[in-house]
Symmetry: C2
Subunit: 388 residues, 2 copies
């Protein structure tokens, strides 16, 4: 039997608050890889870095952006080393790092340059610097190659969901509830091209933003859903929210903070306050909105394709009992569980996925399976920074 | 004997006027590689692209810069395919592309981000897009890895000069006269760490800028040195120019258009015109300034290290008879010749060098020999974008 491959993944999400680092062991060959989680940690960005990242791209000086490539590369490398050390591992034990980088721009629909429209994406955090700091071969810039073949450059994690959840006996959904919620449906016996993956709508973004606005910035999330637990949802408001045009669109589709973020949440909140709802009622309504919009998406776009045996929930939302209970109530015929039940760390799943994407790049395996399922060309995702 | 490795290099210089593409065949093993030039071509940027690139970085919208990565990647890929076709080759014949990209920022001294100073560099033209357009494994982003180890990220071409000019019998200088002039001194029997490489000062930048200013933009270079040929140099002005502090600095040193470009040339020109010099006298003085500043650099920093058997001149300056004669007159004991005499295409030498740097990256050979000669860590230069 060949020596297992050990990969480290580094993920910085769109909330721009920090870095997740995960170490996984990969055995077997694609698509029959077995991925075992070894260790993971999360780190907050230092305040000075976070302040820079919270600026809008147009507020950043161009040279800030250039400098960020190197500054974040160093930070990522240092956090990877720290995580390895805490896991009792040395750089020589690690076969590769897969680093997503911090997205500054993701515009698969294109940016206008003169008369041209050019689909574009940019993640910063130089792989060359990570490779130097750690001494480990580093793969970065995963999204460009999918944009190059005409894809959306997202989602990229489904190949990891497919490999970790594929089964000949069970049809499963990987449901990730971060700021935005997304899912990958893996029908039993599926080939990579049979999977369906898309954003369902808001995850925690409206809940977190509402708490922040209602408490004047004192609190930034509804820990354990405690506020929501004390209130009842307003059904009329819930029905209104579910009329949002995003839910009528068919997959492939994706959304973001620019749709369900602060301005939208603020306007919803003003309407609910004007109606006289209590803070708890508002929080419960928004939490049920997340659950119901997920349920609507599953009923419309997944249920027609497969029975749903299991729903594996990851992301911060998996830690909110109101969301977990809300999902269980809506899917009585399915087993709803967190990632941990199947060996996936719920809070650092994406870092695990990018560790695996690094492995796939080094093995020259095209990983853009969502784009391929829409007839686009296979692409090997990532660029490789070798070390001496 | 193993099949020779065929590499394609793509270079866009700091003058931002276009793209050079070169195809070379590489035999042997490092540092005993034999590099044979097969074919090369140069292309001007389309006017719309050039207009964008001529903006100062601070004039560019951040999204322009992001879009440029993809737009230039496509353009580079298309020009590579065109060049291959003209050479009677197919993508399947080519083992790799090495693409330098267009430098938008190169600040090894660092950019300020908040209280940090972060050495930075950015070349755009996505390797992922080039790899997709051509179907050829592409290496790009060569400078970041040298910056990461604390190097200047430049010069990177000396490893190519070393391999092409190394000899047990002759001490040679590779002298490249582009906008800025630079040299690599390769003493006979040298190891990579024995070479000396630095910018000597202005190449064609002041000559070209002066013609442009004197003709109100009608003419942009002194073709064949015809204007300079009709005049005599003003010795007093020449002495003044040679007092520029750059010439007193010791290597390692580098300079650029920001020092010897338009503003500096304009002030020199105003002074000479006020003095009553004719256009031909001005052009001759500036041309002799290029020759003499090269001669000063060689006498001070190279002659103490080695006899100079041969000076191999490349770049646009190798096409200016006044420069070539001026160099021959200043080095009577050396053989002064153009790159062609030793099989190096004078005008696309850098594209050949980046083809070779692509090969070195794929072979995992650290190519930052200048930084290594100053005690910095070896770095494998470039990031690899594989193709399915």
């Amino acid at each position: 039997m060949s020596k297992p491959f050990i990969a480290c993944g580094i993920m910085s999400g769109t909330s721009r608050d920090g870095i997740d680092v995960a170490i996984v062991e990969i055995g077997g060959t694609y698509p029959h890889n077995r991925i075992r989680h070894i260790h993971s940690e999360d780190y907050h960005y230092p305040p000075s870095v976070r302040n820079l990242l919270m600026k809008e791209p147009e507020e950043l000086a161009f040279q800030d952006v250039v400098g960020m490539r190197f500054m974040l590369g160093r930070l990522y490398g240092e956090k990877a080393l720290k995580t390895l050390g805490n896991a009792g591992l040395k750089p020589a034990d690690i076969d590769c790092i897969g680093s997503h980088g911090q997205t500054l721009v993701h515009l698969p629909g294109g940016v206008k340059i003169g008369w041209r429209t050019v689909p574009s994406t940019l993640q910063v955090g130089s792989g060359a610097v990570i490779a130097h700091v750690t001494g480990i071969t580093t793969v970065s810039d995963f999204r460009s190659a999918d944009i190059a073949v005409g894809g959306e450059g997202a989602p990229l994690v489904p190949v990891y969901d497919y490999v970790t959840l594929r089964s000949t006996k069970k049809s499963r959904i990987a449901l990730n509830i971060g700021g935005i919620a997304n899912l990958t449906a893996v029908p039993k016996g599926a080939s990579p091209e049979d999977i369906v993956a898309f954003d369902t709508g808001p995850g925690n973004c409206m809940i977190d933003t509402a708490v922040d606005l209602l408490t004047g910035g004192e609190v930034n999330c509804d820990l354990n859903g405690e506020m929501a637990q004390r209130g009842e949802p307003d059904q009329e408001e819930l029905r209104e929210l579910l009329k949002h045009p995003y839910f009528r669109r068919k997959p492939p589709k994706s959304t973001g903070w620019e749709v369900f973020g602060r301005p939208f949440t603020r306007s919803v909140l003003e309407h609910m306050l004007a109606k006289g709802l209590s803070h708890s009622e508002i929080m419960r309504t928004l939490t049920e909105f997340t659950c119901e919009s997920i349920a609507v998406a599953v009923r419309r776009h997944v249920a027609p394709l497969m029975d749903i045996d299991e729903i594996i929930v990851t992301g911060g939302g998996s830690r909110n009992p109101v969301i977990m209970e809300g999902l269980k109530a809506r899917f009585p015929g399915s087993k709803v569980m967190t990632g941990e039940a199947v060996g996936i760390p719920s809070l650092t799943r994406e870092a695990c996925a990018f560790a695996y994407l690094g492995y796939l790049c080094l093995k020259r395996i095209p990983a853009n399976i969502v784009s391929q399922s829409y007839g686009l060309a296979p692409a090997i995702l990532g660029s490789i920074h070798p070390t001496p």
